[in-house]
C-alpha cells in the first residue's frame, strides 16, 4: 500500500476544511444563502456540529485516499497538484453538477459549491507538496 504521509493527510484535510470555512462565510456566505435558499432562519434546527464533523471526516477520508495514491505512484510535485485539483474538477464537480441539474439548483449555487471543491482539493494537494 506504500508509506502514507499521515501528517500530510491530516493537515490536507484541515486545509480543505479551512477553505470550506472561509468559502462559505467571508467569501460567498451571503451569495450561497441566496442561491441555495438556506438562510439562518430555515436552518435553525440543523445540527451544525454534526454537519461540520461529518464534513471533516469526509475530507479526512478523501485525503487518506489521495495520500494512498501518492504513496503508490510517487508523483512529482506538479503531478500531485494536477491529480488533486483534477480530482476536484473532473470527478467531484461533474458528479454534483448532474445532481444539481435534477434538483433544479441555480447556476450560482453550482458554481459556488464547485469552486469550493476545486480550491479545497488544490489546497489539499499543496499540503502534500509542502510536506513532501
Amino acid at each position: 500500500m506504500g508509506e502514507i504521509n499521515l501528517l500530510a493527510v491530516f493537515l490536507g484535510a484541515v486545509a480543505f476544511f479551512a477553505v470550506r470555512m472561509v468559502w462559505y462565510t467571508v467569501l460567498f456566505g451571503k451569495a450561497w444563502q441566496k442561491a441555495s435558499g438556506m438562510t439562518p432562519e430555515n436552518t435553525e434546527g440543523a445540527n451544525m456540529a454534526l454537519i461540520f464533523g461529518l464534513s471533516f471526516l469526509f475530507e479526512l477520508l478523501i485525503a487518506t485516499v489521495l495520500g494512498h495514491q501518492f504513496a503508490m505512484i510517487d508523483p512529482s510535485d506538479r503531478a500531485k497538484m494536477l491529480i488533486a485539483t483534477g480530482t476536484g474538477a473532473f470527478i467531484m464537480v461533474p458528479a454534483i453538477g448532474i445532481n444539481y441539474l435534477y434538483l433544479r439548483k441555480s447556476a450560482a449555487h453550482f458554481f459556488i459549491d464547485a469552486g469550493h471543491f476545486i480550491v479545497g482539493m488544490a489546497a489539499m494537494g499543496a499540503v502534500f507538496v509542502w510536506l513532501g
Binding site: F58, T64, V65, I91, I96, F117
Partner: protein, 130 residues
Amino acid sequence: MGALNLPAIVLGAVLAAMIGIVWYGPMFRFVQPFVKDEPKERQHFVMVLVVMLIGATMLGHNLARIGSETLAAKPWLYFMQSGGIALFFIIPVLWSTYYRLGSGRRLRLVACGYYLVAYLAMGAVFWALA
C-alpha cells in the same frame, strides 16, 4: 503514462448513462426521476453522458498510469480504481453536499448508490476490453 483505452472510455460512459436510465427509471423513479416527458429533461441525458465521459476518461487515465502489465497481473485493480473513485471521492462529496442541503437519506442513498454501480460497471468495461 500508457495509452488511453478509447473504446472502453466511450462504452463505459454509455453503459454508466444507460444504468442511470434504469436506476432513476424503473428502480428509483419515486425518489428522483432521470428523464421526464418535458423536452428540457431529455437534454439532461446528454449532460449525464458528457459527465460520464469525463469520469471514464479520468478512470482510463488512472488505469493507463498503472500500466497494462500490472493490470494483467492484478485484474482486481480495475474495480479497486473505479469503485474507489466512487466510494472515496464522489460519495463523500455527494453525501456531505446533500446533507448540508437537508435532503433526505433515501435520496442520498439512491444518488450515491448510482455512482458506485455506474463506476463499477465502467471498471468492468475496462477489464473486459483490456
